[in-house]
Amino acid sequence: MKVTRRQFVTGGVAAFTVTYAVPGFLSDLARAQGAHARNLVVLYMSGGNDSLSMLAPYNDPFYTSRRPTLAIPAGQVLQIGTDSSRVALGLHPRLTGLKQIFDQGRLAFIQRTGYENQSRSHFTGTDIWSTADPNNSQGLGWVGRYLDSLPSPVDPLVGWNTTGSLPHVLQAHTAVPAIASPAGYAFSSPNSGAEAAAERSTAVRIASHVPVDRPELAFVYGSTQAALATLDRVATVASYRPSPAYPTTGFAQALQAVAGAMTKSIGTRVFYVTTAGFDTHAAQNVNTVGGAYYNLMATLNDGLLAFYNDLRGQGLLDDTLVLSFSEFGRRITENGSQGTDHGSASVMMAMGGKVNGGLYGTAPDLNPDPKNPTLENSAGDVKYETDFRSVYAQVLDSWLGTDSARLLGGNFRKSGLGFI
């Protein structure tokens, strides 16, 4: 067994049973010398985010007329200026933390992101955003392909998914652990002492006999192996006690685990977090304290702000990029249930210490004229301006330092997208 990084640095507190050459892996010593890791946190806003309620073109007269109950009054939005098309934009009033981050220049909004003939299905849509492939959305995830491109052997902990099952974004040949709660990530036994230790070592040895001639079974072996190989390192994260404490929402707790993993330097580079409930077909209640969308914004804001402040305090902000996506935006005109149905293009967010904050792209003009070029579907939905793969390309090239054209199957680089 090699002497591991942690043993070398801290004198062997945690003994790894397996060691991996982690690409780009950054030791505490290197960090102390001022070098930086590059962590990516993919944030999925599940259900189809109504971005017009998150980033509101509050002076557009059609915003108010097409959304009589949902439009945020101009006096309520948190104004953040105008974009290059001179549309005044404001954040949802509950996003006071994101406003601070925006004002510090560490938050970017990329407007009207989507793709041609955008799917309005949650499932096809999520698959497309996850694979970055509108034509074949059943393949591996775009981040999964990145992980697979790293030099092998790839450490299973290079990725960390904070949800219970593997999201499509991270689907890869590399097994990415799902660790919803570091504290519950442990191996139990009906016995104790030496008997329990014998069971565990038997499980580890069995998992090493991967039946390569049976690929479907081998997949389960891969998960088992990755689980057993990561237990000890994950256990170190469970002891992370940030101050001040994060909110108690699942979203914020997941971000706390992410910050813990970064702080403990366990080697993870890519994280996946999600906040759900954006499928607001009815009673969306954008403007009511405690209303459905208001609460969604509260969860988003409070979780991200706690994470941002924690990372800044730990000196990890410059190592971190958060990138958000949602499967689609919503229809411009509100429906009869004071909600919004499935729409098209939406807004992506990028947050981090190296982010060049600001407003990218242009807001839609909400005039319901069918010829309005910023809209589609008879001016029912927002038409995309920036292909979402151009945003991914920017992240792959400029943050993860890889070749986006290879991983995305084409050159999607676009000028003017220097948010990172």
């Binding site: 599940s46 799917s119 309005r120 299905s121 949650h122 499932f123 096809t124 299973p156 998914n161 219970g164 099952s165 593997l166 097994a175 990415v176 652990p177 799902a178 660790i179 919803a180 519950g184 990530y185 442990a186 191996f187 139990s188 036994s189 009906p190 016995n191 030496a194 008997e195 014998a198 069971e199 038997t202 499980a203 040895r205 069995i206 998992a207 006999h209 039946p211 049976r214 479907e216 079974l217 997949f219 389960v220 072996y221 998960s223 088992t224 990755a226 689980a227 990561t230 499928d279 077909h281 009815a282 429906n335 009869g336 249930s337 909600g339 149905d341 499935h342 579907n377």
Partner: protein, 489 residues
């Protein structure tokens, strides 16, 4: 603990049920495959007595604080369904109900947010015989029609209270049509994505305008009071609706304009059109293939063609369809054995049937199932659970291993006694073969068997004494039930 092994019957019961209890093995093991399939698909001839066994000695337990109220408490409803999966003598009925629950995936939390916890449990899980207002919850609808006609199931779902809340049909009116149900009935319940247009979504929303809820059974405080489906003629869009596909047998694509009083027929016509659509037959056939035959590799086109044809010829008679599925050569091909990734529920219930249940409680499966990614009445979204490899994240696999540990620890005295009375405690090899037979798995490579043998020999010499059996029997059961091979069914 299973005693005898008929690998074909075991295979059938892993697919058409949740594994086999010893009495199920004995019952079906005495039949030919044809007889067994016939018995499974004609389950109405077996009394529906399983709920009466709850709380009786000899059956798996429940942990219930206060009165058992599955019609008002979702946790109790979950335990009741798990109890049925373990002890029902109609295994295919429970398996098919799970298939439909996944197909018409409806989530408790949203409904509870809209109408409160007790009402949500009621609309999802109440039996009409136990409810003061004779409410029949969604799962009882699906259970009752598990092998009924697909049209009936679809029509029942379109009028189901839980569904009308879940997909917002209750707010669908002519002035402001609500697209949610109209979209999903095409995308997820019938023809599938790619076989409808955005214009069809708008039209489908208008078809179901006025299919809302009303309060019945007196004031809200009356226990019989309930929200139930009603067709509100004055909220129905009476104009004609034209689709991109045939609605009528003559190929007609337009539902004609109708008087508001007759407008409910729009929805009936539309449902009949969707149920008769060739892509519905193919979509259902492909899902049945994934659920009952295999989820390895591509869907078998021959199977889909054949089962879709039965679906269409029988007008969606699910009994005829399932007879075809369970007798299909694809299911009985040697390559189909252990060629499915078990769902968490399949794994948990099968493990209970294989390892034993006296002294165990179904409530002890709920948190593990959640960690494995499957909570009854709480699918992740309306498309149901992402099955197959998605079940096998590292934490889900750990949860499976840890459930195997919990169950084995709970049963350790029973396991030690069983292996001893079977005369299999003399040597580690005898004990290992006993448990390898009791917990059927995909073939174990010799290297794996050798590791299990080594485990039995580790930590001291073999005495076969009770203390050793009470450690090694649960230890090896934990390792087998937690093995990758056991996760395949």
């Amino acid at each position: 603990m299973a005693a005898t092994a008929d690998r074909h019957i075991e295979h059938l019961l892993r697919r058409a049920g949740f594994g086999a209890r010893p009495d199920e093995l004995a019952l079906y093991g005495a039949m030919s495959i044809n007889q067994a399939v016939n018995a499974l698909v004609t389950f109405e001839s077996v009394p529906d007595a399983v709920d009466g066994l709850i709380g009786q000695p000899g059956y798996i337990g429940m942990t219930i604080a206060g009165a058992f109220a599955p019609q008002a408490n979702i946790n109790h409803a979950r335990q009741r369904w798990l109890f049925r999966m373990v002890h029902s003598d109609r295994p295919l009925q429970e398996k098919m109900t799970l298939f439909w629950h996944n197909h018409f995936a409806t989530g408790y939390t949203k409904i509870a947010g809209a109408v409160g916890a007790a009402e949500a449990a009621r609309y999802l899980a109440a039996k009409s015989t136990e409810d003061p207002g004779q409410v029949r919850g969604q799962i009882e609808l699906l259970r009752e029609r598990a092998l009924g006609s697909f049209n009936d199931i679809l029509l029942g779902i379109a009028k189901d209270t839980a569904m009308l809340i879940w997909l917002d049909g209750r707010t669908n009116t002519k002035a402001k049509p609500q697209e949610n149900f109209g979209r999903e009935i095409m995308e997820l319940f019938t023809v599938g994505v790619g076989h409808y247009t955005e214009a069809d979504v708008y039209a489908a929303a208008r078809v179901f305008s006025g299919w809302n809820l009303q309060r019945a059974g007196g004031a809200a405080t009356d226990p019989a009071s309930r929200q139930e489906f009603n067709y509100f003629a004055n909220q129905h869009d009476t104009a004609a609706k034209t689709f991109s596909f045939a609605i009528y047998p003559d190929g007609g694509k337009t539902i004609p304009a109708r008087a508001a009083s007759d407008g409910m027929q729009d929805g009936v016509d539309f449902i009949n059109g969707l149920a008769a659509h060739p892509n519905t037959a193919r979509y259902i056939a492909a899902k049945l293939y994934r659920f009952f035959v295999t989820d390895f590799g591509a869907v078998n086109v021959t199977f889909v063609n054949r089962v879709a044809a039965v679906f269409l010829q029988s007008r969606g008679d699910m009994r005829a369809v399932m007879r075809e599925v369970l007798l299909s050569p694809e299911l009985w091909d040697e390559s189909a054995y252990f060629a499915r990734y078990s769902w968490p529920l399949e794994f948990v219930v099968r493990a209970i049937k294989d390892v034993g249940w006296p002294g165990f409680s179904v409530s002890d499966t709920l948190t593990p199932l959640s960690n494995m990614g499957q909570i009854l009445f709480e699918p992740p979204d309306v498309s149901g659970w992402d099955a197959g490899q998605t079940w096998f994240s590292t934490s889900a696999m750990l949860a499976r291993m840890n459930f195997a540990s919990t169950l084995a620890a709970n049963q350790k005295f029973n396991l030690a006694t069983a292996v001893k009375s079977a005369g299999a405690s003399k040597t580690p090899e005898a004990l290992l073969s006993y448990f390898v037979e009791a917990l059927p798995t995909a073939p174990l490579d010799a290297s794996v068997t050798a590791e299990l043998s080594n485990y039995l020999r580790a930590t001291g010499g073999w005495s076969g004494a009770d203390a050793q059996l009470q450690a090694k029997a649960p230890g090896v059961v934990h390792l087998i039930a937690g093995s990758p091979e056991y996760q395949l069914v």
